[in-house]
């Protein structure tokens, strides 16, 4: 009986605590609604300074609530403004002492605030080094966000250091490693080529480097192809590798693409078909035609798309398949031809 009464009492206590918390939050919301009016007024005052393109409007460094407003506005505007307007806004923000406040915000308890601060700090030439602190942040999303924000900077941290801090391929598996590598490649393609060959790095890190280099001219294609030929990637990475090889549009990619066409994994075969089309490997049109008979729809569909991408040679194969091949290939070719003709 005592237990039942205790249960009832506990439930009442919890209810009372819940009600108390809710009432407190409602009061806090009511108070913050009043503060919001003041905040809006501060925004109205700071916005023209940041957008004004007129440094005479700047009255000097901001403090207190105005500093928070200036910081928030800078974070918002930095995402929207680029070029000379963006530079002018950043100059005005600097005059308002925003970078110093952002550096303080890097120590915030909220990961969201630390991320915003790091991303925005990376835009200020004199304060980007402060954003590097965020590469050691406890939150992986903040680390990755900071890395992406810093990667394009010439004087930014070394790619190897960044990858190590991100624990790329070990803890960090994000597809965002690819744009990160692209920014590294824009700074120095040779460094990214070094990552491709660095066997101490994970498959994912090396593959991201390959994908970045694939869009970066022909200088490193033979290296990429050599790694693709020598190294065995698991199927989910092999798909990405093959598509990247297609993006190189280089005949050297032919070997690995042809090998992938015989893969036991349908998505790898589909990726190989897509890559052949992208690379413009006209001599592979017969193989693509043969793939119109594949057991898997996704392979047949990608093969037909690739034949379209090959132009006249591919169309010739599609028409031949529509007329003479087995029922599966014939249906694929006929329907795709009809679809494209109508589209």
């Amino acid at each position: 009986m005592d237990a039942l009464v205790a249960l009832w009492n506990v439930s009442l206590i919890l209810c009372s605590l819940g009600a108390l918390a809710l009432v407190s939050l409602i009061m806090a919301r009511w108070l913050s609604a009043r503060a919001e009016q003041r905040r809006l007024a501060a925004r109205r005052a700071v916005l023209p300074v940041l957008l004004g393109n007129d440094e005479r409007l700047v009255q000097g460094p901001t403090t207190g609530a105005a500093a928070d407003v200036a910081m928030d506005l800078t974070i918002e505007l930095a995402e929207l403004m680029r070029g000379s307007d963006g530079d002018a806004m950043l100059r005005a923000a600097k005059a308002l002492d925003v970078p110093r406040h952002l550096e303080r915000r890097l120590r915030s308890l909220a990961a969201q605030e630390r991320l915003n601060a790091a991303e925005t700090l990376a835009l200020f030439d004199d304060h980007a080094h402060a954003a590097e602190q965020a590469l050691d942040d406890r939150d992986p999303a903040v680390r990755l966000g900071a890395a992406l924000a810093l990667a394009h900077r010439e004087e930014g941290p070394e790619p190897g250091d960044i990858l190590r801090k991100l624990r790329a391929g070990v803890e960090e598996h994000s597809l965002m490693l690819v744009p990160l590598m692209r920014d590294f490649a824009a700074r120095d393609p040779a460094v990214v080529a070094g990552i491709v060959h660095n066997e101490s790095l994970t498959d994912e890190a090396r593959l991201s480097a390959i994908e970045a280099l694939a869009d970066h001219g022909h200088a490193h294609v033979t290296r990429i192809v050599a790694v693709a030929a020598q190294h065995s990637f698991p199927p989910h990475l092999e798909q990405r590798l093959i598509v990247a090889l297609g993006r190189t549009r280089h005949p050297a990619a032919r070997g690995p693409i042809a090998a992938a066409m015989k893969s036991a994994t349908p998505l790898v075969r589909a990726a190989a078909a897509e890559a052949a089309g992208r690379a413009g490997l006209i001599d592979m049109a017969p193989e693509l035609r043969a793939m119109l008979s594949d057991n898997e729809w996704i392979v047949r569909f990608r093969s037909a798309e690739a034949l379209f991408a090959l132009g006249a040679a591919g169309m010739q194969q599609l028409r031949a398949a529509a007329g003479h091949d087995g029922p599966v290939a014939r249906h694929a070719a006929r329907t795709m031809l009809a679809e494209r003709a109508a589209g």
């Binding site: 039942l4 439930s11 969201q112 991320l115 999303a141 598996h173 729809w297």
Partner: protein, 478 residues
């Protein structure tokens, strides 16, 4: 009282009454305990969730890497809302997506309205045939709206069949199943795709939040002003959805034991959907059945995988505002849960299925299978046994604790979580109204809801088929 008339039987009757009360209270207590654990997990999940980037940042970051998505929108007799819904889908912010609308043999002017509004004409389309569904009558598209394809098919008896046709017609790496009568927020795809970008090789499915559009101002297929509805039933459902999505699904997702992704908004890897044969059209709980089958498929093959729930992306949906519509919906949900549980009952507490078998199925057993039965027995018997003098007052207090006061606490705590972490309700007044609803819903609505769930039980036992219709007002008048 009874003991006065049957003195010899009193001891036996009291023992029996106390045994019944014990079962009812212990079941309620287990449910409450599970909810408290969920609350704790949801709190941790929200506090430690990755920072949420703004839409513009996401767009910039994902523009080259985000996998293509096919948005699958099955439509059956949706002539009132279909054009607005499709317009809002076409306006979604995402780098690479297509919208596949399936007219599932509508008997109204759904297809005609789409053809007329978007200038569609019949086209050919090369589609997969891996997943089974009722025959397709034709495809419609327009050069002016290249992202849109409309599939006209014979009615296959349910949403699952239409979704299967849409899966076959889709061409993207990911497919997003939605209800055509729902509204996705502009950046919902950018946000729900996050797990597929963060863990591309592991993530097979992800669900987002569902919110109630009743009362909101909708313009051109977008929610432009969030307001609370005036209908009491809609208000109560807002509270229910908060508990379901903000507490339960967030927590179960964190535990990696999510057993349902709402049919109104879920993102899946297309190849895995094809691998498992798409949706099952023999159950009314096709969304739950799909996720449970996904778990089973992946675990049977010992493949690593993740099924996630993300709180930020929102899909707005119209909820029933009449007792008849709501009752039918809840009975159907109950029937769907029971069908899935019975079909996969061998997963319950089966070590082969790990935490899904223990926690996921344990929760279904406790909350969906036994919960409504035992709670209704408690409502009927405990007051009666007390009135007959067979139970002392503390038993009734214990019952009240597990059915009323703990319920009030859970609802209030969910609201606190919402206010601390998400703050989706913009006005103080709205928060006050929901706080009151958190209390009031436990008196009357909760009991009614359990009766509807018993109806679902009854329909399940009688193997009743069909979805039942819901009267829709349409967004323009919401």
């Amino acid at each position: 009282m009874i003991g006065h008339f049957l003195p010899g039987a009193q001891g036996w009757l009291v023992s029996s009454a106390e045994a019944i009360a014990t079962v009812v209270i212990v079941t309620g207590l287990l449910q409450t305990g599970f909810y408290l654990v969920q609350l704790a997990y949801a709190g941790v999940a929200l506090a430690s969730r990755p920072p949420v980037s703004r839409s513009a940042t996401l767009w910039r970051r994902y523009s080259e890497q985000a996998p293509a998505i096919s948005v699958l929108a099955p439509a059956f007799n949706e002539e009132m809302t279909i054009v607005e819904s499709v317009r809002s889908l076409l306006a979604l912010q995402y780098p690479d997506f297509e919208v596949v609308v399936v007219n599932d043999g509508s008997s109204d002017a759904t297809l005609e309205r789409l053809i007329a509004h978007f200038g569609l004409r019949p086209v050919e389309r090369y589609v997969d045939d891996s997943v089974k569904h009722a025959p397709i009558r034709g495809f419609y598209a327009s050069r002016d709206v290249p992202r849109l394809v409309v599939v006209d098919k014979v009615n296959g008896g349910g949403k699952a069949d239409a979704l299967n046709a849409a899966i076959n017609c889709s061409r993207s790496e990911l497919v997003c199943a939605i209800d055509a009568d729902s509204i996705l927020e502009d950046d919902a795809l950018l946000r729900v795709v996050r797990p597929f970008i963060d863990e591309p090789q592991l993530t097979v499915a992800a669900g987002g939040s569902i919110r109630i559009v009743n009362g909101c101002r909708v313009d051109a297929g977008r929610v432009v002003e969030v307001r609370l509805p005036r209908s009491y039933l809609a208000l109560v459902q807002i509270m229910e959805y908060l508990r379901a999505f903000l507490m339960a699904r967030l927590a179960l997702g964190r535990m990696q034991v999510l057993t349902v992704i709402s049919g109104a908004f879920g993102l899946f890897r297309r190849d895995v959907m094809v691998e498992i044969g798409g949706y099952d059209d023999t159950t009314v709980g096709e969304d739950m059945e799909l996720v449970v089958r996904l778990h089973r498929h992946m675990r049977d093959r010992k493949r690593d995988y993740r099924i996630e729930f993300i709180a930020e992306p929102v899909c707005w949906t119209e909820c029933p505002e009449t007792l008849a519509d709501l009752g039918r919906q809840r009975a159907r949900w109950q029937r769907g849960a029971l069908e899935t549980f019975v079909r996969y009952r061998d997963m319950t507490f089966n070590p082969k299925y790990g935490r899904v078998g223990f926690i996921g199925f344990g929760q279904i057993l406790l909350v969906d299978v036994l919960g409504p039965l035992i709670e209704v027995i408690g409502y009927i018997l405990l007051p009666l046994l007390w009135a007959l003098g067979l139970l002392a007052l503390p038993w009734v207090l214990g019952f009240l604790a597990v059915t009323f006061t703990f319920g009030i606490f859970i609802s209030m705590a969910t609201l606190v979580l919402e206010e601390l972490q998400l703050r989706r309700f913009t006005k103080v007044r709205e928060l006050v109204i929901l706080a009151l609803i958190a209390v009031i819903e436990n008196l009357g609505y909760r009991q009614l809801s359990n009766i509807w769930r018993l109806q679902g039980w009854w329909h399940f036992l009688r193997k009743k088929q069909g979805w039942g219709a819901m009267t829709r007002k349409g967004f323009a008048t919401s």
